[in-house]
Symmetry: C2
Subunit: 411 residues, 2 copies
């Protein structure tokens, strides 16, 4: 017999992260299961941005680069993220977008790997990862992208492979790679490894240095709650920092940017992977989201994430049996991230009907209903209620209404 | 005899742009001559960002990509900037930083120019332009950067030149290139041209299409008043859009980003030069700054800019004669931007003393005092008062105090 509403409430009552819910602003009547696409608004972001705009920019003007340490923000926020992903503070900076950071690190890694020209990834990886790898390969002589299904990655890594590039938790299926095992295999064969943590950081435990990872990137606007299009981060293991050169040699990555010299000389350390002037407002908004994690252990966050996901799977399979939903996400928490996907041929209109009822998840082409579980602000009762609403929609056929078929520009 | 305070006030009284001053928030006691480094805060930005955060992000959540047209912001704000630089609306997008956009366009241009491997620029160009060109050259076989003094650029363009890359108004000297003449020469020799408008857009008249320009980039946080590190823009002439490929093949530049296919296919038009997810908050703040220009003709803006600069030069040379200031900027308004630089061996402490007295300009290594004149919020009386303060500092030797010698991280 599946969990009752009372059971769910008891779980919320005992949840050590329960207090975080009030640290976010969420609309009334919404069960937000899309924090893996755009994280919710922290309660203090509006005030922080207000003072950044009014005081720091408006009153401080150009002086705030020093007096409010805007110039230090990429390293400062990077160091805070480092704690969440098993990195040292000086191994992470915030910069640009995930796509731009992928380009920097792919090119830097491949150029160092003389005599090796293959980048290995998996088909169906998040599109921008594959697109950027394709763009980088086209620029570099003798470099090509080879995609192989997840379960063949390990054997695919051979002496031709310069770089293995994988998303730790798959954006659609929620499947999680074994970071330590794949990293070890890459190193055994002389390849470098680049992990995209966009669907991991802030939701599942990540320990880059324990795994011996070389490179990583990740997203600021999902579980880190940095706001729409928040800046991304990148990680370069200390041992590699001096050996890798960014192809995007902008002035913020220069050893002495304010000397205004004509010749590029990379900064020591990970700062060489900065490029142009960062959006300070966007960085400060991201910092608010990241700071919330100061007070939560990633182990606790990860544990709750798995419980929420398991509960959702169990309830959907119980309450919505017979309506054609097929679980896409691994059942085993050990190989899963913090979102759960079900396939259904009519997933687009079903998701639109869910959104109209206040259960906001994502449709992902071609046929996936994806629900993300953000441990800081989603509770067990939310999961219970969400499944009841999904059941209503499926049982009533409400999703068959024509209005749910109109495709939006962003899906 | 030089201009009196009464004369300056009369000029302010007759200034058709005078009303714009109240559309900005400026600190009391400050004469802000650094809008060319970080533009001042528009009066409505705080409220706009407040509603973007509270309503669009907080309440709309992921839905706002459609319902508030976040997805359309790069093209929408780009089209607004297009009006200010003589481009068509579909020739400009807002994306990334100036540095990243330089990389995209340099690589795209050089890859199209089969058999030509030279990028021409000038020494002392804004560092990031040179650095990015160096980084791009290092990636591409047979490509090199050749720098030649401004007055030799025209003759330097020959059949080996793939791309001429220049900053329209020099960040330090304020010298302005003849865009039409250099563009024509480049085309005559089969080269493409890329203009960096960072110190032009929003201050001097620019007519990219009248000049036949191919490519351009520019900055959002200077004269466009988009906030610290605001996103940048890029221009690709319509005739070239289909032929040029961005090396940064992120998902936002894909023809169908929400199909989530594995293979990159560039969007038609300038949207192919988008890369990752843009910072929506930063974009919306920039839009406020750009919208202010809707109500001002660029001819009027440019005319006032030149008057302010000329007045500053005249007053400094009159009031501060004998204190060792040497004019760096061209005296002729036709070949000048919207800032004026004087060299002085002690320009660093002099600028610090000016800032303490509320006259905020920039020091630029090694010996330049730079003052920018932003026509929307700097008036003639401001210029008069600034020069009196500079005179006081020089005449009293107040700048010799030790405290003005401490170098900040950002200068």
């Amino acid at each position: 017999m599946s969990l009752s509403l009372d059971d769910a409430r008891r779980l919320d009552g005992a949840d050590p992260l329960r207090g975080f819910r009030d640290r976010f602003v969420l609309p009334d009547g919404v069960i937000y299961l899309d924090g893996n696409s755009l994280g919710a608004l922290p309660a203090t972001t509006a005030a922080r941005l207000g003072s950044a705009v009014t005081e720091e920019w408006g009153q401080g003007l150009i002086r705030s680069w020093n007096s409010h340490d805007w110039i230090g923000a990429p390293a400062r926020v990077g160091a805070k993220i480092a704690r969440m992903i098993g990195a040292d503070p000086h191994e992470v900076v915030v910069a640009d977008s995930t796509s731009v950071n992928l380009f920097k690190l792919i090119v830097a890694a491949v150029r160092r790997q003389t005599g090796r020209g293959v980048i290995v990834s998996e088909p169906g990886n998040f599109p921008t990862d594959l697109y950027v790898a394709q763009g980088a390969s086209a620029l570099l002589d003798g470099v090509s992208l080879r995609v192989r299904p997840a379960d063949q990655i390990i054997e695919e890594i051979d002496a031709d492979v310069a770089l293995v590039m994988l998303t730790h938790v798959h954006y659609k299926t929620g499947a999680r790679h074994d970071m330590a095992a794949i990293t070890a295999r890459a190193h055994e064969k002389g390849a470098l490894i680049l992990w995209d943590l966009s669907h991991s950081a802030g939701a599942v435990e990540v320990d880059l240095n324990a795994a011996g990872a070389d490179l990583a990137v990740g997203c600021g606007y999902k579980y880190l709650n940095g706001g729409p299009g928040a800046p991304a981060f990148l990680f370069v293991a200390e041992r590699l920092q001096a050996a890798l050169q960014s192809p995007l040699t902008g002035w913020m990555g220069h050893a002495e940017p304010f000397q205004f010299g004509d010749d590029y000389r990379p900064a020591p350390g990970v700062a060489r992977f900065l490029c142009g002037t960062p959006s300070v407002l966007a960085l400060l908004a991201l910092e608010v989201g990241v700071d919330l994690f100061n007070e939560a252990s990633m182990a606790t966050v990860s544990e709750k994430s798995q419980r929420l996901c398991s509960m959702f799977i169990d309830l959907v399979e119980d309450r919505c049996a017979g309506f054609g939903l097929q679980l896409v996400t691994p059942r085993d928490p050990a190989v899963r991230g913090s979102h759960v996907s079900f396939a259904h041929p009519d997933s687009y209109p079903i998701m639109q009907a869910m959104i109209e009822r206040g259960v906001i998840g994502d449709f992902r082409a071609p046929d996936v209903l994806r629900c993300g579980f953000t441990p800081l602000y989603v509770g067990y009762e939310d999961v219970w209620r969400a499944v009841e609403i999904i059941h209503d929609i499926l049982a009533s056929g409400a999703w068959r209404d024509e209005r749910f078929r109109t495709r939006s520009r962003v899906t």
